[in-house]
Symmetry: C2
Subunit: 345 residues, 2 copies
């Protein structure tokens, strides 16, 4: 076979020792070396110490791949997101990573770029080498997801499929609060700038807007911004202004930020003549003016998802779990009283 599995591409072999070499050097069997690392309670304290000492001297590190082959536990989990570049995800990724780390796991990251086919490809490539998967804002259809879930523990984020463990960021309360906030400021006509039709979050937000607006007797129009981005938000400004509404609530912060830029370009002042609310709270105070938004705790979602995955991997968890994370409104400076000329119509 003549491998040199552990030499760099270039020079020195710098072979890493195997279990056999440690066994020989410390005068015990391979089994004993193995147990010194994975089940030390089976051995004499003295033996463990001696083996570990020799191992340390030789620079031995158990080969994760070989171990995975015989135990089926590779110590890896996969995280697939729909768009790394969307500021919603980095905090989520970071938190997921951190949680996995604490459990001694490595994270495979996949970026589907909103493309179901790519997502399916990634899952296929990952699934053989991971113990579990987290799919954030998956664009896969239900059937595919269910199939993958039979092969590996799987947790969804912001996707609501019965029988599969999922973490849902429930923005409905926050959105409702936002509508209430706008109503109190005197707005009677508002726009919802909507995101991907296949997105669970979008459906949830749209419904919350509708419900709450109806309750308070506000009129709502929907304007699309697809795919959700700064640019599509900016482009939506014209249509929104033309529709005569005095406030808008956007699918996410990025769209809201774009919308504000579009409004500025049309000389519509925020919040003096128009109010804007975002969603996710991923931009903090960095917009101009600082954005009133629905805080979505995206980092928590990553943390919780990996946590649930872990407990599922460790055999626990029989029943289905549907973990909801709540949200709240963060009022900053992009919302203000409805302009007089339009107020109360």
């Amino acid at each position: 076979m003549k491998r040199d599995s552990d030499s760099g591409g270039k020079g020195r072999p710098s072979i890493v020792p195997t279990i056999s070499q440690v066994a020989k050097a410390s005068g015990v069997s391979r089994a004993t070396v193995s147990r010194a690392f994975s089940r030390p309670e089976m051995l004499t304290e003295a033996t463990v110490r001696r083996v570990k000492e020799v191992a340390g001297k030789l620079g031995y590190v158990p080969n994760q791949v070989a171990r995975a082959l015989s135990t089926g536990r590779h110590g890896n989990v996969a995280l697939i997101v729909s768009d790394v570049a969307n500021p919603f995800f980095p905090p989520l990724i970071r938190a997921a990573q951190l949680r996995a780390d604490q459990a001694g796991l490595c994270v495979f990251l996949g970026n589907s770029d909103e493309d179901p086919a790519r997502e399916e490809l990634l899952v296929g490539r990952f699934i053989g080498q991971v113990e579990g998967l987290v799919l954030a804002s998956s664009r896969l259809d239900e059937e595919h997801i269910r199939r993958h879930a039979t092969r590996r523990p799987l947790v969804l984020i912001n996707r609501d499929i019965e029988g599969i463990t999922r973490v849902l960021i429930d923005t409905a309360p926050g959105v409702a609060a936002a509508i209430a906030h706008l109503a109190e400021l005197g707005h009677r006509h508002i726009a919802y700038v909507s995101g991907p039709t296949t997105s669970w979050s979008n459906q949830q937000r749209r419904n919350a807007v509708r419900r709450e607006a109806e309750k308070r007797g506000l009129k709502v129009i929907a304007v699309p911004a697809r795919p959700p981005s700064y640019d599509t938000g900016r482009l939506a400004a014209t249509q929104i202004v033309a529709s005569g509404v005095t406030a808008a609530i956007a699918f996410d912060d990025l769209v809201a930020q774009g919308l504000m830029a579009g409004l500025a370009a049309l000389d519509v002042e925020v919040p003096k003549s128009f109010s804007v609310v975002g969603c996710d709270d991923v931009l903090g105070e960095t917009t101009y003016p600082p954005l009133t938004t629905v805080s979505a705790r995206c980092a928590d979602a990553g943390d919780v998802a990996v946590g649930l995955l872990l407990s599922q991997m460790n055999g626990g968890v029989s029943g289905e779990i549907r973990h909801k994370l709540n949200s709240h409104l963060v009022i900053r400076a992009s919302t203000g009283p409805a302009p007089l000329k339009r107020r109360g119509r």
Copy 2:
């Protein structure tokens, strides 16, 4: 042993077939099945077809882990970044991912959170399961990096260590252009808002500022923003205004954006009374006012780095490679003529 390595945590076993089962079902040896997938040119066309047909029917997929054990090729690469949440990295990650994908590789993502110890831990955990590593803005010391590089092909991004393949985003020309731009607008005193001292990019940018300013007879002061972020940028505003400069060039866009917020809070108008230049061009037009910045092609860096890693993994590449990516100034709306009262000193 009684594993059921491929059942989900819950119910049905849904066993994935092994090479032996395919062999039996198609009436050939395990070796032949193996070759049908990894070296089909060794077999009759008819045999390959028959084996693959059976395999397809059974839902057989070669076990990546087992393959890795015997060949040493796991089909994985690692990418470690210093901060996923910094907008500099997502495009880089995305591009790296895409490139790896095309080569059929999976990506392990690590986030060191600017902590060398964490970074070292991650490398240790990854190195046994990957064929190569990309370290972006590594905070590891040179000795560690060299050691890892002897074990696996390794490519650095924005870190300049002799003898190790590296991709450097050369912002010096862009920074020089920025200084020239400010000089032409009449600024005579400027500030450099500096980033991490251990960062190669920071050193490079600081030097470029100094060199070009000296050439044009501008005075430069340095003000730290550490760690580089929106908040530290904002906090630096007071000191910068007090120092009497009329323009600042920041370590990165995030710091620049924070600085602009800090200036706004002090009622200093940008660009009317103060000019700001960023670095990296990761925020596009989304700041207010849109930021004049040095474009850094971070996505290209990810793409190129993985490309170099691939060629290194495939045995090629004897000599050392030091790939430079150039930069240029993007002028938007955060820079303008020096205010009169201060101009010409």
